[in-house]
Symmetry: C2
Subunit: 409 residues, 2 copies
């Protein structure tokens, strides 16, 4: 894409009320727009990066047999009354609204209830199991404190997968597959080395749930990391019994702040019993379906990447997430030779399938380099009268700053 | 995909309270799930078809220079008060809710206000124009009457594009490009021959707006069609002056029911003046930006396709929209030869990039054919002991019923 066509502009300052580093940088670089605390719109560069994250997660969910759906945001209270979660005392982040012709509605904060109810149309026999169903869908949460930029939204995109199995054993197998898929996701997003499988509170159907905690000073959670074993324990559950249980010694653990970038839960029969989702086993006996849930927020992951990888000059994207692979910066000369060479290179790279942002604007070298640093595309190609004279393009790596010259042909 | 893995099941009857043909068929075939009147969730087959429609629209919007964004659904009332549209008397389909820590919010029914406000950060000079910005985003409308299935949702996906130009002349050029793009979209969706560019009420900044009306008994609108000129006039504006104006004679027009599948509007300075979106022209004078808006609902388009093309046996998809290109139906024999041949053909087609739904279920021929008719994939390949004996696959066209034999190799 030609940057002269991109409608967004960079800016020196983020809005004064924006306190989160991730949102400050993303707003300044023109990736997102702040509508109000905890509510952000995604602009072309931001949406491209978000869609890269979505694409990676989708591939990994498909690889473990997930089937994609898209559930409604508007929630009929019936299913939530059945599970006992309609009350604001139980889910304290409900947004509620009402129909003009009567009846109270909620905005989905999560989707266990409607999906469990929906599956009653499709699961009857043990032959219909297992099933794994996921979506990328907007969640609404009425947060009183929304100061972490795109990492804690009142409205945000969520990938939520729900698994349906015949029993705990079959569930446990899927759960491990999902856990491994999550590890792959964070690796592919470029934050795997900072992300720990973390033992957290399990609820009624299992001893533990697992969080994926990405170490960062911007995090809201406190975890205790065992670097050797690459695992952690959430402060909320840390006690002698748990340490014993996991074979960990308190002295080997290091306290760190972390961002909860993913979580996976065993739900057991909590929702299937409440909503009547059962199957007939081989003997014809009715058995409640054994469920699990697996969440990851693409926007929160994007915010975590920004918090971890950015520097004082701006954003730094891993290749897998960057809105474009190459930022082609042309410093035009009077004669037009640079423009011709840059146009040609842009056409060539685009034809080869490289996603290029081509800075073809009438602007100073300083402005172009400053914007390129802020926007954070991994590879910068610079063409100027100088590089052209030597038949070269200057290639600069945004993350390392390493510069090399490549022949221009 | 193997049908034995698809979690959705077909059903003989739609829910009793579902009165719309499109939703009845889509529910029976397992494409959508009804959550409540006007609120539907999309299941794997439905989401695949919807995404095909989204893909076509996206290509056409990109081709006219559209840049994709994703705006928030939650609406701060400030921008809407500025335009005078916060009141329920002005927009009578608002869903409203409130923040736990104070303040009323709306759920976006459309996005002129927030996008106009957002563009103030990016448009300052005539050099920043033109711009065309679009999104695929969920709209919420508090409809009291929601009886048209997925064609009139309380929550539905909308493609809305907004154009920003220096003046009416530049706007008019873009408007014609957008109109042509819409014509291409409906052609590609397989309902172009039934869709008419329709003159409708223009509002304050232009004589007419244009609707795209798809002729169907399921439609809620009445239009007067001039078949020779391939245009129509909405009943709402039909009078002698309009006929005169358009050079039409009442006697040449035929009254028809139609579904409003798209609409394009000239907005002029209605929102840019209200919200202060202006640019500096070449002389440094401040001028309000000239705007237009262009809407099309992928879900409504999907509903219209179902209404128009389905038959008594079920859904009939055009190739461009079908969730899969080929439905491979294997009628297994005892020896396993059919299964081996079908597995092989499935692998071969998949490798060639054909999207195949492979009915590998243990089910009767009648059940498989009935489901295939209901699901409506354009091409059905049948492999049985009989076809295999002759070295053939039976190929049946869902729309025409035409059968041919193709060599199986």
């Amino acid at each position: 894409m030609k940057q002269s066509q991109l409608f967004t502009k960079t800016r020196r300052e983020a809005p004064k009320d924006e306190v989160a580093t991730n949102a400050q940088l993303l707003i300044r670089a023109g990736y997102v727009h702040k509508e109000m605390a905890g509510v952000y719109s995604f602009l072309p560069l931001g949406l491209r990066a978000l869609n890269k994250i979505v694409g990676i997660i989708r591939e990994e969910m498909d690889a473990i047999g997930g089937q994609e759906v898209s559930l409604a945001a508007l929630q009929d209270k019936k299913a939530w009354e059945a599970s006992g979660r309609w009350s604001d005392d139980v889910i304290d982040v409900w947004f509620k609204t009402s129909l003009k012709n009567g009846g109270e509605l909620g905005l989905g904060t999560t989707h266990e209830e409607p999906l469990t109810a929906l599956m009653k149309d499709h699961i009857r026999s043990f032959r219909d199991l297992p099933a794994a169903v996921y979506q990328f869908q907007t969640k609404f949460r009425n947060e009183t404190r929304a100061k972490s930029g795109i990492m804690r939204g009142r409205e945000f995109l969520m990938k939520d997968l729900y698994s349906f199995n015949v029993d705990e054993k079959a569930h446990a197998e899927f759960y491990e597959k999902a856990k491994a898929a999550y590890v792959r996701i964070f690796d592919r997003l470029g934050i795997g080395d900072k992300t720990y499988v973390t033992f957290a509170s399990g609820g009624s159907f299992s001893k533990y749930s697992h969080e994926f905690q990405t170490v960062s000073e911007a995090g809201e959670d406190t975890i205790y990391v065992h670097e050797g074993k690459r695992i952690a324990v959430n402060k909320e559950v840390l006690n002698d019994e748990v340490l014993d249980n996991l074979g960990l010694k308190r002295g080997d653990l290091v306290e760190m702040k972390a961002i909860e970038t993913g979580n996976i839960f065993t739900l057991g029969a909590r929702y299937s019993e409440a909503l009547g989702l059962s199957y007939k086993d081989a003997e014809g006996k009715s058995v409640p379906v054994f469920m699990g849930s697996y969440g990851i927020g693409p926007g929160r992951a994007m915010g975590a990447i920004v918090e971890l990888l950015s520097d004082e000059r701006g954003l730094v994207w891993p290749e897998s997430v960057a809105p474009f692979g190459v930022h082609l910066v042309a410093l035009f000369d009077e004669g037009g030779a640079v423009k011709r060479a840059a146009d040609e290179l842009y056409a060539k790279l685009t034809e080869e399938g490289v996603e290029v942002l081509y800075d073809d604007r009438d602007a100073s070298a300083g402005e172009k380099f400053g914007d390129a640093d802020l926007i954070g595309i991994p590879k910068r190609y610079v063409i100027s009268a100088k590089t052209l004279k030597d038949g070269h393009v200057e290639v600069k790596d945004r993350a390392t700053g390493k510069v090399s010259m490549e022949r221009f042909s």
